[in-house]
Every structure is written in structure tokens, then in C-alpha cells.
């Protein structure tokens, strides 16, 4: 017997968010392929936008799953999403231009089996368990592929494993200065796993509102994108990395101000306590 604790009342239905998140994420990932076609690296920032789209979808999936009270805490959902997603994503990068689609299909298969195991073998009996874990694995794979595309300008295995080191003016190929060889993927893993679980963990409760949580998800996504843009500086050209950084900071500032606005709207009352109180002499 399971009881659904909170109902989603009003707002955008989950299916709409799921379809929009999947399509937006895939379209943004394929826009980074313009790098290969046009021979530049300036389109890398679309990888970051793909992660934001997938993270917004993911935070709503976590809300969908965790409203049943799974008992293990919200962060565990983010961890299983990326644990299963990273495996699908790394295998899919072998398929070149088809990588994002292969990642989605493979992650769906892995997620489906994990969902079946959790729901039936472990006897969780939660109606949305299988669907949610399938979505989570897809989201994990798409977010990691987005970071890979943003940091290296491409989502193919060869460019994820090979970088360039300039020694005395000579450009030499190096496997250490790459997304995989430099273990940047470990940082991308945690950037995504924390960004996906934080919005629902922070916004849950009786006054949960959908637009506020999704705005926080976008804010977390852009905040992670700022870090990813800084990490992309050694791997892609500095001007392309600065374009990513610029887009990330603009997006973060916009979503952050909107989130504060929505938090004030939902709060019963708020007081702007200044960071450092002014001490008036002679009192």
C-alpha cells in the first residue's frame, strides 16, 4: 500500500514537461554539432543549455517520484540517475553523430530494468517507479553528454579522450588534457547530480509551487553551467569558453532574480535583513 502525499494541483502536467525537456535537450545537443560542420567551437554553449533543459525536466521527475515518500531521501534519486546515466552516455559516445539518440535509447533500457528491479524484485510497489527511473537514467545521460559537448565542443569519444597541450609553441596531442583523461567527467557527474536533486529538496513541503521549483532547477542548471564554462577553458578556445561563460552568467542572473521574486510571492512574509547592519554612533 502506498499513499501519495502531495498532489500536483494545476500547473503544467508532467507529460508535457517530459516531452518538452527531451526534445529541447536533444535539439540543443544537436546544435553543438554545428561546431563540427562549421569548424568552430562557438556553439559549445548549446551543450550547457541542453543540461539546463534536462535538469528542469529531471527536477519535476524527482518531484513526481518522491511525492510517494520513497523513504530514502531525495538525493538518492539524483545519484541513481547519474549512476545509470553515465554508463549509457559513455557507451553512446562511440556512435558519433547518433550519440545523443543512442544515449537516450540505451539509458531507457537500463532505466527500465533498474525500475523493474526496484519496483518488483525489491517490492517497492510505487506506480510511477518504472517510468521515473527510466526518465532519470535518460536525464543523467543527457546532462552528462551536455557537459561533455560544452567542455570539449563535441560529443564523440575521440574528442572526449584526446586533447592538445601546447609546449614551447608546439601543439601536441595529449590524452591527459581531455574530458575523460583529466577526469573532468567526475566533476560533471557531481555538478549534475547535485543540481538535479536540490530543487525539489529545497522547495518540498506544503507550499510547494511548480513554477518556483522549476525556476530553481533552471537556476541550479545555469550555476553548474558557469562552473562547466570555467572548466572548458583548457579544452576549447578561450573565446568560445568566454561565450559559454557569458551565456551562463546571463541565464543564471535572470533565473536567480526570477526565483527570488517567486520565493517572495510564495512567502507569508519576508524581511530584507541587510547583510551588515549599520552601527549608528552615539546610541
Amino acid at each position: 500500500m502506498t499513499v501519495k502525499v502531495e498532489k500536483i494541483e494545476g500547473g503544467i502536467p508532467h507529460t508535457t514537461i517530459m516531452i518538452a525537456g527531451l526534445i529541447a535537450s536533444l535539439v540543443f545537443l544537436y546544435l553543438t554539432y554545428a561546431n563540427v560542420i562549421m569548424g568552430t567551437e562557438y556553439f559549445a554553449f548549446f551543450g550547457g543549455l541542453a543540461t539546463v533543459a534536462a535538469l528542469v525536466w529531471g527536477s519535476h521527475t524527482i518531484k513526481h517520484l518522491c511525492s510517494y515518500g520513497i523513504g530514502t531521501g531525495v538525493p538518492s534519486a539524483g545519484m541513481i540517475a547519474f549512476g545509470s546515466g553515465v554508463i549509457a552516455m559513455l557507451f553512446a559516445t562511440k556512435y558519433g553523430v547518433a550519440a545523443p539518440v543512442v544515449a537516450v535509447i540505451l539509458a531507457a533500457i537500463i532505466g527500465l530494468i533498474l525500475g523493474y528491479v526496484a519496483n518488483n524484485v525489491l517490492n517497492m510497489r510505487i506506480p510511477v517507479m518504472i517510468q521515473s527511473l527510466t526518465e532519470m537514467a535518460i536525464i543523467g545521460a543527457l546532462v552528462l553528454m551536455g557537459y561533455a559537448a560544452m567542455m570539449t565542443g563535441s560529443f564523440e569519444l575521440t574528442s572526449l579522450t584526446t586533447g592538445n597541450v601546447v609546449i614551447l609553441g608546439l601543439s601536441l596531442p595529449s590524452y591527459q588534457a581531455s574530458f575523460l583523461g583529466g577526469a573532468l567527467i567526475a566533476t560533471a557527474f557531481m555538478l549534475g547530480a547535485i543540481a538535479i536533486q536540490h530543487p525539489f529538496n529545497a522547495c518540498l513541503g506544503p507550499n510547494w509551487t511548480q513554477d518556483r521549483m522549476l525556476m530553481l532547477a533552471a537556476e541550479c542548471g545555469f550555476l553548474s553551467m558557469i562552473t562547466a564554462a570555467v572548466m572548458s577553458m583548457p579544452l576549447i578556445s578561450m573565446s568560445a569558453a568566454l561565450v559559454s561563460l557569458f551565456v551562463a552568467i546571463i541565464g543564471w542572473y535572470y533565473t536567480y532574480t526570477k526565483y527570488i521574486e517567486l520565493s517572495r510571492r510564495d512567502a507569508a512574509a519576508w524581511l530584507d535583513s541587510k547583510p551588515i547592519p549599520e552601527i549608528v554612533e552615539g546610541q
Binding site: V3, Y175, Q176
Partner: protein, 278 residues
């Protein structure tokens, strides 16, 4: 019904049909690996991954996970979720084992186990310090009348309206055993994948073995972390979030977790192997 009472009441029941379907998936994956790759390094890697995954899933059942009620002194255990504890113990073990990877599978796995066990021993000790001297609560179990190891009675130390509090001795020992299993399992997955990648990557990428070593280490490490988290969270679902340790009645649910971990590790493992072998 309030949010507190609405936790899933999965109970200890075993769904035999689902268990058999799970075992069939496991056998299909093992058979597929054997027929595609033969009985070489790839097949051994899959077996190692499955054994490692089972060790992780089984080990989580020993760890006293208290969650939010423990932080408020209303339930025994360490006051955080499985994902955090397992990541801590598993990664400590994995880092310990990775240092010893060149010494062979046995030495490295034992080193990983000691790393995970040490991490859990230190965590349990400081958790007890904070419970006893910081929060001012004695350690008492709510699930058993007497501590199975020391024989100390528990009931007179337990506050009314709680399920026990603090970290009883048996939970401490359980935490260390869980850390040993988790660290060993994570290290075993890492070692098996590292051996496979060191063997296959130079030919696949057309480079010298020394050049691809960073990539082999990262790939094996990421897959080990990914599989560790998947197995730990599945085991957490099995105990519905909290457990006191090996004396808890929920511990008897571990056969389900072993099947679940084996299936999940096999499915993730075959994909991790295919990245170099297809």
C-alpha cells in the same frame, strides 16, 4: 494520512515471479557475454562486476542508516541517508584500493575493504561522540531487548515515544562490516574494469599503453562509482531508507537485494564492457 505515516510498506514479502524474471535477465546477460566475448578477460570482468555489486548491496544492509529521525534523536543510526553514507564508505574504499591496484587483485581488494571499514569506523565513532556529549542522549536500540554482542539491556535507556537513539554497539560493528563489504565490492569492480581497459584500449585508440592509462583509470573509476551508487540506492530502496544494523528485522530482506544488485550490476556491466569490446 499524514506524510510521516505514508512511507511505502513494502514489508518483507518476496515476489517469487519477479525474482525468477530477475534471475532470467541475469542469466541472459551472462550467457550473452559468454557467447559474444568468449571466456576471456571480458567474461571474467562481468563476473567480477556482479560479485562486486552483490558485495555492495549486501554491505549496505549492515550500515546503521538513521536518516532524519536519527538527527532528531528519535531513531538509532547515523543521521544521514544511504546515498551519502555509501558514497563516503565506497569512495574511501575505492581510493584506498586504487592505490594498491598494482599489487594484485587480492591485496587491492583487501586494501579497499580496509579503507571502507576505516571510514565507517571513524564516522561511527564521531557520531557517537556527538550523540553522547553533544546531544546528551544514551545509545539504545529499539528493535532488540539485549545487544546481541555485549548483552547489555536496552529498554531502560530508551526514551518513551522513540524507536531508540544513538548508536548501540552492535550497530557500530555492523557499520564497520558494511564498510568492509562496500569498499571491497567497489574496488573489485574498479580492478576488473581497469584490467580490461588496460588490455583493450591501446588497440582500440591506436596508442601506447602508457598514453591511454589516464583514460583507462578514469573510465574504470567512473563506471565503478556509477555502479556503486546504483547498487547502494537499490539496497536503500530494499530497506525503505533506514535500518539499525544486522540485528534489525529488516536485515532479513537481504536476499531480494542480492538478486537486485546482481541484475543491476550485470546490465550496467555488459554496457561497460561493450565500450571497448564491440
Amino acid at each position: 494520512m499524514s506524510a510521516v505515516a505514508a512511507k511505502p510498506t513494502a514489508g518483507g514479502a518476496v515476489d517469487m515471479t519477479a525474482m525468477i524474471i530477475g534471475l532470467i535477465i541475469l542469466l541472459v546477460v551472462i550467457a550473452a557475454t559468454y557467447f559474444v566475448f568468449g571466456s576471456g578477460l571480458a567474461f571474467m570482468a562481468l563476473i567480477g562486476i556482479i560479485v562486486g555489486g552483490i558485495l555492495i548491496g549486501f554491505g549496505v544492509h549492515f550500515v546503521p542508516v538513521g536518516g532524519a529521525p536519527a538527527a532528531m534523536g528519535q531513531a538509532p543510526g547515523i543521521a544521514t541517508g544511504v546515498a551519502m553514507l555509501a558514497a563516503g564508505a565506497g569512495l574511501a574504499g575505492l581510493f584506498g584500493g586504487a592505490w594498491a591496484a598494482e599489487q594484485g587483485v587480492v591485496v587491492a581488494t583487501i586494501t579497499g575493504a580496509i579503507g571502507g571499514g576505516l571510514m565507517m569506523a571513524i564516522t561511527c565513532m564521531f557520531v557517537t561522540f556527538i550523540y553522547v556529549f553533544g546531544m546528551g542522549i544514551p545509545c539504545a536500540s529499539g528493535k532488540v531487548a539485549k545487544d546481541p554482542i555485549t548483552g547489555d539491556t536496552q529498554a531502560e535507556f530508551k526514551s518513551q515515544g522513540t524507536e531508540g537513539h544513538g548508536l548501540p554497539f552492535v550497530s557500530y560493528v555492523g557499520g564497520v562490516i558494511g564498510g568492509l563489504f562496500g569498499g571491497a565490492g567497489g574496488t573489485l569492480i574498479y580492478l576488473m574494469l581497469l584490467d580490461l581497459y588496460k588490455e583493450e584500449l591501446p588497440a582500440m585508440m591506436n596508442a601506447l599503453p602508457g598514453q591511454v592509462l589516464p583514460i583507462a583509470v578514469t573510465l574504470a573509476g567512473m563506471f565503478a562509482i556509477g555502479m556503486f551508487l546504483v547498487n547502494a540506492v537499490l539496497a536503500a530502496y530494499n530497506i525503505t531508507g533506514t535500518i539499525e544494523g544486522p540485528h534489525d528485522p529488516k536485515f532479513k530482506r537481504f536476499p531480494r537485494a542480492i538478486v537486485a544488485s546482481a541484475v543491476a550490476s550485470a546490465v550496467c556491466g555488459i554496457v561497460a564492457i561493450m565500450i571497448v569490446a564491440v
